[in-house]
Symmetry: C2
């Protein structure tokens, strides 16, 4: 498995519920507005969606506050990432990061250059600008997966100006942006002034609906958005995603509660993970997941230990630049987090009680 | 608009319900099993689907009875059509047919050759086999859209053997196959013995859920299915489609009622359309739509006349091989069909009362 979220192989397909710390979904569940209005989606299901998705695009614009530019709609952010990457013959990928960036680039035959985060998981802005001179595009997560770092706008300014001037494209994957609790961290409003930007968002993580499949991209680079749109199939967004957007993005109560939860639990879990013996160190995060460097155990051992006790974690070795001494943990609700901590505490290195 | 189903521009976006004769959806609405179990889909929405969709594939195999071979899952049949066509440098398209075949082939830079239906809208099997010698693949609808003809298995046999022997691929779009009322019309079971076949199906039309977005392809040509799968994005099927498949495809009561409806209404509408003054002739159909050749009026005039009275029809000039003297009409429930007939009767050619 190259992704988190496989609660099936060792879990559901064997009739067993696993506590999923391998994918990073808001534990508050579906916004009530969506479930309450599911009847509207069922009513719509019997007809084709608007092939131009005019109401859906209107709702996205209202939510983001971005009026200028085009909205690309995707069957999950995965489609938007894939098609945006497909437009470039070569691309600079900041790594470690979401593994699909590299898989997509390879699929489309794009040449890849990498800019590695520092051992402290910090963005190397000088390295990015240096390498960008030979590349058409850059893709970077904000916050970045798997470590949760966000882009420092001051440090990024030079890159932004350079790309705008040189006609290069910056793809910023903001699938987790809402979790930072500060919308100023986002670059989405910059798309109105910087044609070089292509910002990708999703409702998957913050609005807790990975099963619904909906993501979007915003850019005022018409040439790029047209090239992407031409590659898309008609009616690529299902009617449930339309209703989910309509009744979730404006749910202020849900958003407020979610921000309160992530702030508290991130603080709690970071502090408690610091006390766990098998974890050497954790990396600062603004997202709803935590990258951990293990101490004297490897990901496989921790994974096996946890799954026996009903918890699935994300082994991190297939993130480029990481190895088997890393794991990624989601941040969930307090009860679950305490269960996780209890299990992790059971991993006693000195006594070799692993496995 | 290049497709039917635009009930938005002149309809919903202006707060007006149109009777949609431009897209071909079973008027019986959603199978009850799907709506009854929507709670299960909502429960699943908060987690990623199984990236391998094991249960979904199991359900498709149970429905089709095809065990051997691979199942390709698509975000609507549109995705499956698109990706299967993408695998060929050149393709023979039987036309007039679903316009996406040609659009997809052009998008992927495939060379296109056409085999035209006869003026009576009959398949020219000799022409197909002759032209196939220079082509890698063939795509044909069964039933074919927009006329509703089905493939004669006896006449098609030579083509099948030729393609199997020569390593060519036959893509058969069976999105409307259930409406024929005879599953013997399908080629889906042939996939177990003929590697050259790639059969595309959907739940869109017969199970009345275009908004859900789900289609599939079946083939035992592993090289082809692998090539398609490699182009797909992860989690491309939403959780509502999974539940729709789980609780609809085995709904015997729904299937029985639907077959009864289409048999009766097809007979009724064919007979009644024959009496309409502005329709010169209609073409035999085994599907849930009827291609009509107009008499002394063009599609635009009929479209405008109908839309004023709340009915939207499919102008057919953009089906390759047809012109502005054709329209396509869905077959709906009796009440709607009578309303349509009443409107069409109002088109009085001699008195020039059009518009």
């Amino acid at each position: 498995m190259i992704h988190g979220g496989d609660i099936y192989t060792e879990g559901l397909l064997k009739g067993r519920e696993l506590l999923d710390y391998s994918s990073n979904i808001n534990p508050l569940g579906l916004p009530k507005g969506f479930s309450d209005n599911i009847g509207e989606a069922l009513k719509n299901a019997v007809r084709y969606p608007d092939i131009k998705y005019r109401e859906l695009i209107r709702n996205i614009k209202d939510y983001t506050g971005v009026e200028k530019g085009d909205v690309i709609l995707g069957n999950g952010a995965a489609e938007v990432i894939d098609l945006s990457i497909s437009c470039f013959k070569n691309i600079l990928i900041v790594v470690p990061s979401f593994v699909e960036y590299e898989l997509d680039a390879k699929k489309w035959g794009s040449n890849i250059e990498y800019s590695y985060l520092s051992p402290k998981m910090e963005i190397n802005y000088e390295d990015i600008i240096k390498k960008l001179s030979k590349m058409q595009a850059l893709i970077i997560g904000n916050p970045n997966n798997p470590n949760g770092s966000i882009i420092n706008k001051k440090d990024f300014h030079e890159i932004l100006e350079f790309c705008e001037k040189e006609g290069k494209t910056i793809i910023i994957d903001e699938a987790f942006i809402e979790f930072t609790g500060n919308l100023e961290d986002s670059f989405i409003n910059y798309t109105e002034n910087y044609r070089c930007l292509f910002i990708i968002r999703a409702i998957t993580k913050f609005f807790a609906m990975p099963g619904v499949r909906f993501g979007y991209g915003i850019s005022s680079d018409e040439k790029l958005t047209k090239a992407i749109a031409e590659k898309q199939n008609p009616w690529n967004i299902n009617c449930f995603a339309e209703i989910a957007v309509k009744y979730s993005l404006n749910d202020k109560e849900y958003i407020k509660k979610s921000l309160q939860w992530v702030k508290e639990e991130r603080k709690f879990l970071l502090a408690e993970l610091n006390k766990i013996q098998c974890i050497k160190n954790i990396f600062p995060t603004r997202a709803n997941f935590i990258l951990c460097k293990l101490d004297n155990v490897n990901e496989e051992q921790v994974y096996n230990f946890c799954i026996k006790q009903g918890i699935i974690i994300r082994k991190a070795h297939n993130f480029k630049g990481l190895d088997q001494s890393f794991i990624r943990l989601a941040i969930k609700d307090r009860v679950s987090n305490e269960k996780l901590l209890k299990v992790l505490k059971g991993i006693n290195i000195s006594n070799k009680r692993i496995d």
